[in-house]
Amino acid sequence: MTAHSAERTDSGGVITRDEVAHLARLARLAVTEDELDTFAGQLDVIIGSVARVGEVAADDIPPTSHAVPLENVFRPDERRPGLDQAQALAGAPAAEDGRFRVPRILGEEQ
């Protein structure tokens, strides 16, 4: 594995530090500078390994998203008890006036 990843690094690697920073932004993870280095190396090795799925000739094979094929599953449209307001807010990091209190959503410029 080490030799393999070294080869890939010589050619620039599939997952660069910048790529990890981009993925982290998309995934809403405020990763540290140290993590960028660690994750770049690790993700590069992992993706190099899982890319093996491409070796399988599967052009005419249908994809499976789910092991048990299911049509739409319906239930009777009946009233059922749900969470009350106090239960729903019980785990909230902040609440006010019976509602979730959240940080500023719009940026300064908006």
Binding site: V53, V68, G91
Partner: protein
């Protein structure tokens, strides 16, 4: 009967004594709570022990029996350890993550409800790799669980806490979840029994999602019969889980009892060529060869079968799973429950800071991996291709099950490894689940039964069956267990060393 003896009984034996009122459910609960108090500082199987709720539940069972009522289930009054990924209204549910530290859910999971309705005493919540991502329980935010067979080694994962609780005699029953092997691999590593039912066989309602198309809850125990008894309690249709199978639970208790009679003549057992050999430790291979001889002695016909796409299972799994994870874990947004970071000028910054502080490295890796695999431009080559491989693996199973009744393999390629050995090498960690992943991808059933020792450490035999084919799987597992115990002069778990603090 002394308290330490109560912790050595099987669930079935303990239940019969409770129901005959020779032992009270409270005594049974207290004996296990005392055992946890004595050894868990060393094992660290539990993240939370619910002493009061456990004793109150046991008292209700005793009161009903004293009134002359029939036991509400065959396991009424028997203590159990619940993986900390199921919601519980009376105990925290952390999933081994900082982001859910001290979170007390407002509702019970269906599995939790069914355990309560069956009069089972829930002792507490067990340790796990964060959000069930890992194969060693080292990725818990709350510290590692130690393997009772050798406390310098891991108990497997992600359900290491549940498996270690069984092996340390802290509980006779436990619940796990298996997305790629998280019930079966810890069972193999601790000399216990673990079952991954058919996908959809046990409700996922209130089971905090890892990868929804792969996650499956199942029973863990020290004997096959105990696992079967628990399987019947938790299994069956649940309208609150749209992927739950609307069919009767296979009669696994009868199958386990039949299997214990020890005759497998007429059954065809497929030996999967691709799950063994290179990459499997010599001790694991030797134990497996001995297991095959034992199955033959029981009258089973062994047939070598080939599942040529299994070798791509791990690659497909580590694309499909992270893709689902990256989507499922988007719910941890610091707004409605769980951790919220103090820093951040906007909701988005607070969210990113919270997730950075609240998630551990393995969860972050998988979220980013999934984000990558689902990116436009990469989707077809990675996620799309992995889904096609998933189809091919299902076809391999279908072809194999057209020739044989069950398939067998070693549960794991290795014996339990030392704590710290693989924690910084994700790919080495992923290889643990080489033999267990294909069943999850295809949604079929699998179990691990203790098969013997290699280097003094437990190894497991994996038995796999078609969807809803649990009965034959339990029959084979119970027959194998009975034969192994008879040949070796007792169950493997009887040889676990005493844990010392």
């Amino acid at each position: 009967m002394s308290a330490s003896d109560l912790t050595r009984l099987t669930a079935a034996e303990l239940a019969s004594r409770i129901h005959a009122r020779e032992v009270s459910a409270v005594e049974a609960a207290q004996a296990h709570l005392d055992r946890i108090g004595a050894v868990d500082s060393r094992v660290h199987a539990f993240l939370h022990v619910g002493t009061e709720s456990a004793l109150a539940s046991a008292q209700r069972v005793d009161a009903a029996l004293a009134d002359g009522a029939e036991p509400v289930s065959p396991l009424a009054g028997v203590p159990l350890a619940l993986k900390d990924v199921f919601t519980t209204t009376d105990m925290p549910t952390t999933c081994g993550s900082r982001i859910l530290e001290d979170w007390q859910p407002p509702y019970d999971a269906t599995v939790t409800e069914r355990l309560r309705a069956a009069g089972i005493t829930i002792l507490g919540k067990t340790n796990m790799d964060e959000f069930a991502m890992g194969s060693s329980t080292e990725h818990s935010a709350y510290g590692v669980t130690r393997n009772p067979w050798d406390t310098a080694r891991v108990p497997g994962g992600s359900g290491g806490g549940s498996a270690a609780a069984l092996a340390a005699h802290e509980a006779p029953l436990a619940i796990g979840t298996d997305t790629g092997g998280s019930i079966r691999q810890p069972a193999a590593f601790t000399g216990t029994v673990g079952v991954k039912p058919t996908y959809g066989g046990v409700s996922r309602y209130g089971l905090v999602a890892c990868a929804s198309s792969l996650d499956q809850a199942g029973p863990c125990a020290r004997t096959v019969l105990d696992a079967a008894l628990l399987h019947e309690v938790i299994g069956g249709h649940d309208p609150r889980d749209s992927t739950s199978i609307d069919q009767p639970v296979p009669d696994v208790v009868a199958a386990a009892r039949q299997g214990a009679n020890g005759d497998l003549s007429g059954l065809k057992v497929g030996v999967v060529r691709e799950l063994g050999g290179e990459g499997y430790q010599p001790g694991v291979r030797a134990a497996h060869d001995a297991s095959l001889r034992r199955l033959e002695k029981l009258g089973a016909e062994l047939v070598e079968v080939s599942c040529p796409h299994f070798e791509y299972g791990m690659a497909a799994y580590y694309l499909i799973l992270p893709s689902e994870v990256s989507s499922n874990l988007a719910r941890f947004d610091a707004m409605r429950y769980g951790l919220r970071a103090a820093e951040g000028r906007s909701a988005e910054e607070v969210m990113a800071n919270t997730r950075e502080q609240g998630f551990g490295p393995e969860v972050k890796r998988r979220i980013m991996l999934g984000t990558y695999a689902l990116s436009s431009g990469y989707y077809d080559a990675y996620y799309g291709q992995a889904q096609k491989v998933r189809t091919l693996i299902s076809r391999d199973f279908a072809a194999a099950f057209s020739q044989v009744d069950v398939l067998v393999s070693p549960t794991t390629p290795t014996v339990p490894f030392p704590i710290g050995e693989k924690v910084d090498d994700p790919l080495a960690m992923y290889l643990n689940d080489l033999a267990t992943i294909p069943t999850n991808l295809a949604g079929v059933a699998g179990m691990s039964v203790p098969s013997g020792l290699a280097e003094g450490l437990p190894v497991g035999l994996q038995v796999m069956a078609p969807a809803l084919g649990e009965a034959v799987m339990y029959r084979v597992g119970a027959a194998f267990e009975a034969a192994r115990d008879a040949d070796e002069g007792g169950p493997l778990i009887a040889r676990v060393p005493e844990v010392t603090a």
